[in-house]
């Protein structure tokens, strides 16, 4: 039996986490993400899980990495200032291949900025926020249903690829209420216990290594230092470092096709394509509809997974579209990725809206009309 709920975005995220098997949450209150923590503080005890309010976001990130090695799927939720504080431990999770899910409900920034207003200013922080080379996975929901669905997918991807996954939501999706449908069967990617025979926890393999937990008799050493296949530090060896970091980035890049998700409409004959993700998509679909009514050939490409960046999908659009308009709530972050990929074939434009409100469909339509020669 499917189930229907009328629910707030942040609560849908928390409910998705519960359904995906999240049984540990370590968090710190921050607007506009706090409802995720509050919902899980109420509901984790019902499912034998644990909720801890940590002393700051650095501790929150540390606690979920510890929680994950303890054998529980683990998550935290925050907003820009907290996401900034988590960055060092996020790098630790990448190099130690620890599955965790981090929800960033983006708000106006930089600094304390606009706690109660929406933005998409953390997109590059999700990509490059921690020091060093790594390939993040990030999902951006445009509706409460997607916030629920993407949270489940985030857990499954983090387990499958043993890597942190970010849900890059925003204040609008976090605080809006919509109906969601919960399917009767939810696919869950369980962790797999490794074979103890000849076990190498960080084996140099094309396959993602299965993950043991502490207390299962593997006597595993986990370190943020550059380590060899046994997990032992080998930080002064250039070859060990090269092999490790390339393996970690390639396990994402080699599986891009499986991870990347976009949604396209009206693109086949489009002269102009809107590229959006997250809340601004809601305005973009109206703008496309209005433009089509005016006879303008406009389509959209919605990015569900900003990271890894859907290069091939954007290249495909650039083959036919004369103009690409990126609509996002910052002064140009994903825009530069689109420009990098599409610039030799299409003209790229940015509608970069800051201040906390969604770009109005009419703002987008005006830009379409300007470019389309109306």
């Amino acid at each position: 039996m499917t189930e229907e709920l009328f629910i707030q975005g942040n609560e849908a995220c928390a409910e998705g986490a519960l359904r995906a098997g999240c049984r540990f949450f370590g968090g710190y209150p921050i607007t506009p993400s706090t409802e995720v923590a509050e919902y899980l503080a109420r509901n984790l005890p019902k499912h034998g899980g644990s909720f801890v309010q940590m002393e700051d976001e650095i501790a929150a990130a540390g606690s979920i990495i510890g929680g994950s090695w303890g054998g529980s799927k683990s998550m935290t939720a925050t907003s820009g200032p907290g996401f900034s504080l988590m960055q060092e431990n996020i790098g630790y999770a990448f190099i130690t291949e620890t599955p965790i899910v981090i929800v960033d409900v983006q708000r106006g920034s930089p600094s304390t900025g606009q706690p109660t207003m929406a933005a998409q200013g953390d997109m590059m922080q999700a990509r490059w926020g921690s020091h060093g080379d790594y390939e993040p996975i990030a999902l951006s929901p445009s509706s409460v249903q997607e916030y629920f669905d993407f949270t489940i997918r985030a857990f499954n991807l983090s387990e499958k690829f043993r890597t942190p996954v970010f849900i890059m939501a925003d204040e609008i999706i976090g605080h809006m209420r919509e109906k969601i449908v919960i399917p009767d069967k939810i696919d869950i990617t369980p962790r797999v216990m490794p074979d103890k025979e000849n076990f190498l926890p960080f084996k140099n393999s094309d396959e993602v290594n299965p993950m043991p937990s502490f207390g299962q008799g593997y006597d595993i050493h986990v370190t943020g230092l550059t380590h060899d296949e046994r997990g032992y530090p080998d930080a002064n060896n250039p070859k060990t470092h090269d092999i490790l970091v390339r393996r970690l980035t390639n396990k994402i890049l080699d599986n891009k096709d499986e991870i990347i998700s976009v949604e396209k409409s009206h693109c086949d004959d489009a002269d102009i394509v809107l590229v959006t993700y997250g809340a601004p998509f809601r305005s973009a679909i109206t703008a496309v509809k209005d433009a089509r009514e005016e006879g303008l050939k406009v389509g959209y490409l919605k990015i569900n997974t900003p990271w890894p960046f859907p290069e091939e999908e954007i290249k495909e659009i650039a083959k036919t579209a004369e103009d690409i308009i990126v609509v996002e709530m910052n002064l140009g972050q994903m825009y530069w990725e689109v420009e990098r990929v599409a610039c030799s074939q299409s003209n790229t434009h940015l509608i970069g809206k800051i201040g906390g409100e969604l770009p109005h469909p009419n703002e987008i339509l005006s830009k379409i009309e300007e470019i389309g020669g109306k």
Binding site: K46, G49, A59, G62, S63, G66, G71, I188
Partner: protein
């Protein structure tokens, strides 16, 4: 030198030896003391998980043949909090130093003490940053020297065992590396205490602290410890002025109080009849 191998070698990852510690360092004594305390407490070594941050003392878990999590600088206790909460069956031990625990990680230290979470924290206090080459730490004595205090420290040191006691720990003690029997007894008691336990061990770093403070050899440092140690029982006969620069050793707190993870598990049990889940990440079905 005897050819006989140490009976404690079975607890070590022999394939990681030799270790990186300097000759004369107190860490060897403390590792020995820890293992003895663990045997005395009759702990199941297979059930011990070690967590550490960054610094010389944080390298200890890497040499121990158990599950070990060598984390980011200062954050070991936050990782340990998640690990213990996620799997309450584990006996979680944190190895840390004065810089790791009291400077960058000070917030996590006091909050873990406040929660009285069942962790055993062994803090090796050598009054200096050893791994980075002799910079002052939050426990460097007033007017001592370090590479970042070439004119002497004008700040005042934290008293860690007292700080943690005030923050709510149920067990806290301080010893020096000379007080081996006391240290072993405290480690035993700390491991057995079902709450937040903190054992501070004042240790010698002849390489950096000694060299910068006219105590160049391990023997110089040992003599300094010996001549400046005062027991908690003797405190009433000293004035505050007389206590400056002294190392006060003994137990600061040893009491029973509600434990953090137990309380979380009891919540599930009493409200919803749910037993705590262990290793649920391996499950495909969730209710």
């Amino acid at each position: 030198m005897s050819d006989e191998k140490s009976p404690f070698l079975k607890y070590l990852r022999e394939d990681r030896l030799p270790h990186i510690f300097c000759s004369g360092c107190g860490i060897g004594t403390i590792m020995n003391g820890f293992i003895q305390g663990m045997e005395d407490a009759e702990m199941d070594f297979d059930n011990i998980a070690m967590v550490s941050g960054i610094g010389c003392s944080s390298r200890i878990p890497g040499y121990m043949k158990c599950d070990s999590l060598h984390t980011t600088h200062g954050r070991a206790i936050s990782f340990a909090t998640g690990l213990k909460t996620s799997n309450s069956d584990l006996d979680v031990v944190v190895f840390t130093g004065d810089g790791d625990a009291a400077a960058i990680g000070g917030n996590h230290l006091i909050h873990a003490a406040r929660r009285n979470i069942n962790l055993t924290v062994i803090c090796i206090n050598n009054n200096i940053y050893g791994m980075t080459g002799g910079q002052i730490s939050p426990t460097s004595p007033h007017k001592s020297y370090g590479s970042t205090a070439p004119y002497g420290v004008d700040e005042y040191p934290f008293k860690l065992a007292e700080l943690v006691t005030a923050a709510g720990a149920s067990y806290a003690a301080r010893w020096t590396t000379l007080k081996v029997d006391d240290m072993v007894r405290s480690i035993r008691d700390a491991l057995k205490n079902p709450g937040f336990s903190f054992v501070e061990i004042v240790s010698q770093c002849p390489t950096y602290y000694g060299r910068k403070n006219k105590l160049k050899t391990p023997v110089d440092m040992a003599s300094y410890f010996k001549n400046n140690t005062i027991f908690t029982s003797e405190l009433p006969s000293y004035t505050e002025k007389e206590l400056e620069g002294k190392i006060v050793v003994g137990e600061f707190v040893n009491k029973q109080k509600g434990e953090f993870v137990d309380n979380i598990k009891n919540l599930s049990k009493s409200h919803y009849g749910k037993d705590p889940l262990i290793y649920s990440a391996y499950s495909e079905d969730f209710d």
